[in-house]
């Protein structure tokens, strides 16, 4: 059987407005992304996830849409989009876009029409109450420190409308079949333009049970409806859900493989940071065990950082505090009373820990996702409010505006980081291209190595006994392949014994080519991992192809 493409994909998230400006207006654009496709292909990524590029007032980075069928003129045109998809395809890369249908902008024509006329069908696209019911205890807006309420009074309509996010993002009513028909039209439109799927924004808020809104919701049926529709247009289409919930709630969204194909694994995400902070494997291993089994077509998408805050909601309070202490020592680094609005590199700082984090990410069962810029250790701008600090322009060179744009610096969508250890003169693509030992070139090596190990994306995993509380040792198995991954969370060298007896392994093939292991016989190996060290091994039996050096290949005939 052919395995679904997304299980061996490497996804790369791009904020179009902040990636590369092709026309000098200070805003990144679709042609700018197209311009950089060779760079993206050189990373080894196979799927681009484009953050919203639709017409929008962009009060929430484009997650406030006024038109689902177009392109924000600052970011390009539909033709630019089609060209991008085609040129990406020529390089073996797919393009995934955002499906933002939990809410629209309050400037969306549906909302403008609906608020004016209660008898309009567009009125029923949204959730209105003349007197909103009292909020259930603990029920809060998604941005509690910025937006106190979930109901906002609209003077034109003379009613309150519901919004889980900002007040300029009125929530669509998914119980209305006409709204779901609109969503399917949106799917049709973009699938016809060649997208491989959608990152489905705010899924639980849109379809899940909400005690504040007394309407019967049918998450499973609706998700099936969307999925069935999408694959009827393109059998390979995927729905990647933003489902930021506790592990036990997640299986509801996969269904039996007939709902969302993939879920962003926020739960595992926060536990990776808990292990980095605690310097031991405990929190992460616990989370790995807590995650439900996925259906055959289901897949986790793992990430270190995305372009929102690092959400620590699913950690026990004491672990959350350890993470805060380690990675967000200043109060202004913390956000929404649940997370951290920082980039990966400034949080971890130490190159060894950054490599450890990426190696760990890629070794997690599932599909890896990288936020643009993390491959070069892009920094942050803590002077900006909300979640903006992580959304800094990509740093291409040490030149003007970091090579991001030729515009006057005052016209940039967001200032380039120019100062400090993460300033564009210290961190940029051009310099790292020329440096064989750079993070960028190491990252490429990681991706290549991962792409030779489909076990991570396709296989099943088990922890293996490592006798060390600081080293996570796990094994992944798929078809004719077995891989062992070791990750040392501690700042000290750790020695451990790896036992592959159960897997009929007789030899370990070191996949990064930097290990020192000692064969103890009887399928046990003694491995020394340096501080924050990591290692991947392919387990080979006696009759498997040998890892002989090239000089040993001798000719049969010449």
């Amino acid at each position: 059987m052919s395995e679904p493409w997304y299980k061996t994909a490497v996804i790369y998230a791009i904020d179009v407005a902040r990636f590369f400006d092709s026309d000098g207006d200070g805003w990144g654009d679709l042609r700018g992304v197209a311009n950089r496709l060779d760079y993206l292909a050189s990373l080894g990524v196979t799927c681009l996830w484009l953050l919203p590029f639709f017409p929008s007032p962009r009060l929430d980075n484009g997650y406030d849409i006024t038109e689902h069928y177009g392109v924000d003129p600052r970011l390009g045109t539909l033709q630019d989009f089609v060209d991008l998809v085609e040129r990406a395809g020529e390089r073996g890369m797919r393009v995934m876009i955002e499906l933002i249908v939990n809410h629209t902008s309050d400037k969306h024509p549906w909302f403008l029409a609906g608020r004016r006329d209660p008898s309009s069908r567009f009125h029923d696209y949204y959730i209105w109450e003349t007197s909103p019911p009292p909020l259930p205890p603990g029920h809060r807006n998604a941005f509690p420190t910025q937006e106190p309420s979930l109901w906002t009074y609209d003077e034109v309509a003379g009613q309150y409308y519901y919004h889980m996010f900002y007040r300029f993002q009125p929530q669509l009513d998914a119980t209305n079949p006409e709204v779901r028909e609109e969503i399917k039209r949106i799917l049709d439109f973009w699938l016809a333009l060649g997208v491989c799927g959608f990152r489905f924004d705010a899924v639980p808020i849109m379809v899940g049970h909400d005690p504040a809104v007394p309407r019967e919701r049918e998450p499973r049926a609706w998700l099936r409806e969307f999925r069935t529709h999408a694959i009827s247009r393109n059998p390979c289409a995927v729905l990647l859900g933003e489902v930021d919930l506790h592990a036990y709630q997640l299986v509801e969204y996969f269904g039996s493989g007939d709902q969302l194909n993939m879920l962003l694994d926020f739960f595992l995400n926060s536990h990776m940071f808990a292990s980095f902070a605690a310097r031991e494997k405990g929190p992460l291993l616990r989370a790995m065990r807590q995650l439900p089994a996925t259906p055959a077509t289901g897949q986790w998408v793992n990430f270190l950082r995305n372009l929102d805050e690092l959400n620590l909601s699913w950690l026990p309070l004491e672990e959350r505090d350890v993470v805060y202490e380690a990675f967000a020592p200043d109060e202004d680094m913390r956000i929404y009373e649940r997370g951290i609005a920082r980039r990966l590199a400034p949080m971890l700082r130490d190159r060894r820990r950054i490599e450890l984090a990426f190696s760990l990410l890629f070794s997690m069962p599932g599909t890896p996702l990288i936020a643009y810029g993390d491959e070069i250790g892009l920094g942050e701008d803590m002077s900006l409010p909300g979640r903006e600090p992580v959304r800094v322009p990509m740093q291409w060179s040490a030149g003007r505006n970091a090579g991001f744009s030729s515009a006057d610096p005052s016209h940039l969508v967001q200032p380039v980081v120019t100062k400090g250890p993460f300033g564009h003169r210290k961190v940029n693509v051009e310099d790292q291209e020329d440096d064989a030992g750079s993070l960028l070139n190491w990252f490429r090596l990681l991706v290549r190595t991962w792409r030779g190990c489909p076990e991570f994306g396709l296989g099943s995993w088990h922890p293996i006994d490592s006798t060390s509380s600081r080293v996570l040792a796990h094994i992944v198995i798929w078809r004719n392949g077995t891989v062992v991954a070791l990750h040392n969370f501690s700042p000290e060298q750790e020695e451990l014994t790896v036992d592959v007896t159960e897997h009929r392994g007789e030899r370990l093939l070191d996949l990064f080519g930097n290990a020192t292991q000692q064969d103890l016989g009887k399928d046990r190996f003694r491995v020394a991992l340096p501080a924050y060290g990591y290692q991947w091994y392919r387990v080979l039996g006696r009759h498997d192809p040998l890892s002989y050096p090239p000089t040993a290949y001798d000719d049969r005939r010449g």
Binding site: T8, R451, G452, L509, P545
Partner: protein, 537 residues
């Protein structure tokens, strides 16, 4: 003409393309392809990137076996055109750097050949001994138990002269008596005639049949025979074919060719590999390329294919140049044997193994066997042994050039039906799809041309892992690894402390992508990788 390396001849570096002339291109609306048609399609072969075309017989023939029953060896059948058309084809091909190979059918003529007409006219005719005549056995039946390939006894009773004549194939195809020096001279003159016209070599039809046992001993039964193999296989043909004296005849053919520069002698030989190898001759003075048909019979699994390739490589005599064939006009098409997805992997195998590859027309667009309704069967084999799937019409259907009514093959009525998918599977449509099998063939051929390791490099087998068959080709310091996933599942292949860059994937989507230490092959994927040592970090 293309420059060739000093150490290798053009037919060692080159790739051969078989044209079945009845089905390639019709220009006179009779529904049968012709020589001007082939000439008009030479640009397709140039753009594909092959080096030579071999044209199945075009000589005057009653067409009992579609040209393999020849009535005049030194002319062209009107259905295919004229001798001038042939000369024009050779000129146009040579102008493009393409070699032209002909079919040479020495074992038998048509019963309408003047030689046979004379031979059967009287027991005393000087040509009587040019064919194989024999008295009946004491019981009045055929002289021995030899069987014809297309069914029944190989002996045909001739009423007028009251003797049997021998025919290894149809009764309309009497076998020549190559033990007669006059026959040898006459047939070698045929070679000279075409060599003088500029032909670059020959594919010799049923070469192993040319000499038969001079004592006419019965062939013993074949212990492994089952009826599904057809009646001909019920005997082990150790006396009726593959006699030691055959090699003397090959030497004589070779002597003729060697008086010209770089002409090639290819033998059609359906024999076990160890027997096949004997046709290279002592010190490789025999056939340049005894056709190797092993890939057409091997079960399509990594272990079997590896066994076959390694076995063939291991048995090659010193100095013998290997060759590989994936399809021809007598065997089911490769896309039907292994399926369309694996046909791409098979193409990569064929064009990356060590040795001269021969492509069969239409395989480059993934043509499959076409089911032939009973009322349109043309092959005498199917007509004489029906229902066993032995008929060869399905793999001989017209080439599909474009989406027009008869796929651009003819504006008349095609002699065999076209494939049902010709509107979407044709050269014009696939040319526009950069991921099509046509482009895969073009890319593979271009790579074979540019990479010495692929065209003339050594072959080193690598260990099999799961359903992955892998090998290394090396030329000087260049090392190229080929890994083929022969299954419909993804597979892992460990590389060790080496890495490299993907030169080509059968999926045509991962050019120049670096790989290292371990390889993931998607379902039905083959990859060609330029190897390099993984530098220590």
């Amino acid at each position: 003409m293309r420059a060739v390396g000093r150490d290798h001849l053009w037919w060692q570096r080159g790739v051969i393309y078989q044209v079945y002339p009845r089905s390639f291109q019709d220009t006179n609306r009779d529904g049968v392809g012709d020589l001007p048609g082939i000439t008009s399609r030479l640009d397709h072969l140039s753009s594909l990137g092959v080096d030579a075309l071999w044209i199945s017989p075009v000589h005057p023939s009653p067409m009992a076996d579609f040209g393999y029953d020849i009535s005049d060896y030194v002319d062209v059948d009107p259905v295919f055109g004229t001798l001038e058309d042939f000369d024009a084809l050779v000129d146009e091909a040579h102008r493009r750097g393409l070699k032209v190979l002909m079919d040479y059918v020495p074992n038998h003529t048509s019963e309408e050949h003047p030689w046979f007409q004379r031979s059967r006219s009287s027991r005393d005719d000087p040509r009587r001994d040019w064919y194989i005549w024999h008295d009946p056995s004491p019981d009045g039946g055929p002289p021995n138990n030899w069987l014809a390939s297309f069914g029944g006894s190989a002996w045909e009773w001739d009423e007028r002269t009251a003797q049997y004549y021998y025919h290894a194939f149809l009764a309309q195809q009497p076998d020549l008596n190559w033990r007669n020096p006059q026959v040898q001279e006459a047939m070698l003159d045929v070679l000279r005639f075409w060599l003088d016209r500029g032909v670059d070599g020959f594919r010799v039809d049923v070469l192993w049949h040319v000499i038969k046992d001079d004592e006419f001993r019965d062939d013993p039964p074949n212990p492994d025979w089952v009826p599904a193999h057809g009646p001909h296989s019920s005997l082990d043909h150790v006396y009726s074919s593959d006699r030691p004296e055959t090699h003397d005849m090959v030497l004589r053919m070779r002597e003729v060719l060697d008086r010209y520069d770089e002409r090639v002698l290819i033998g059609e030989l359906y024999l076990p590999v160890n027997r096949l190898m004997t046709y290279y001759g002592e010190d490789c003075g025999g056939a340049h390329l005894p056709f190797n048909f092993e890939l057409m019979r091997v079960p399509w699994a990594a272990a079997e294919v590896k066994h076959t390739v390694d076995g063939y490589e291991g048995l090659l005599p010193e100095g013998g140049w290997p060759n590989w064939v994936l399809g021809n006009h007598d065997k089911h098409r490769v896309a039907s044997r292994v399926g369309p997805a694996q046909a791409r992997v098979a193409a990569m195998l064929l064009l990356t193994l060590r040795g001269t590859p021969t492509l069969y027309y239409g395989d480059e667009i993934g043509m499959q066997d076409v089911p032939i309704p009973p009322n349109r069967v043309r092959d005498p084999f199917e007509k004489s042994v029906p229902g066993l799937g032995l008929g060869r019409d399905p793999e001989r259907t017209p080439m599909q050039w474009d989406a027009s009514e008869n796929a651009g093959f003819t504006t008349g009525v095609p002699w065999l039906p076209l494939s049902a998918d010709h509107a979407v599977r044709n050269v014009e449509v696939l040319d526009r799809d950069p991921r099509s099998i046509l482009w895969l063939y073009r890319r593979l051929l271009a790579l074979r041309r540019s990479e010495g390791a692929l065209s003339v490099g050594s072959y080193t087998p690598l260990d099999r892992h799961g359903e992955v068959f892998a090998y290394m080709r090396r030329h000087g310091a260049e090392r190229i690894l080929v890994a083929l996933n022969l299954s419909h599942d993804g597979q892992v292949y460990p590389l060790g402390p080496i890495g490299g860059r993907t030169l080509l994937s059968t999926h045509l989507d991962t050019d120049h992508e670096p790989v290292r230490t371990s390889l993931f092959l998607r379902e039905n994927e083959g990859v060609i990788i330029r190897m390099q040592e993984v530098p220590p970090r």
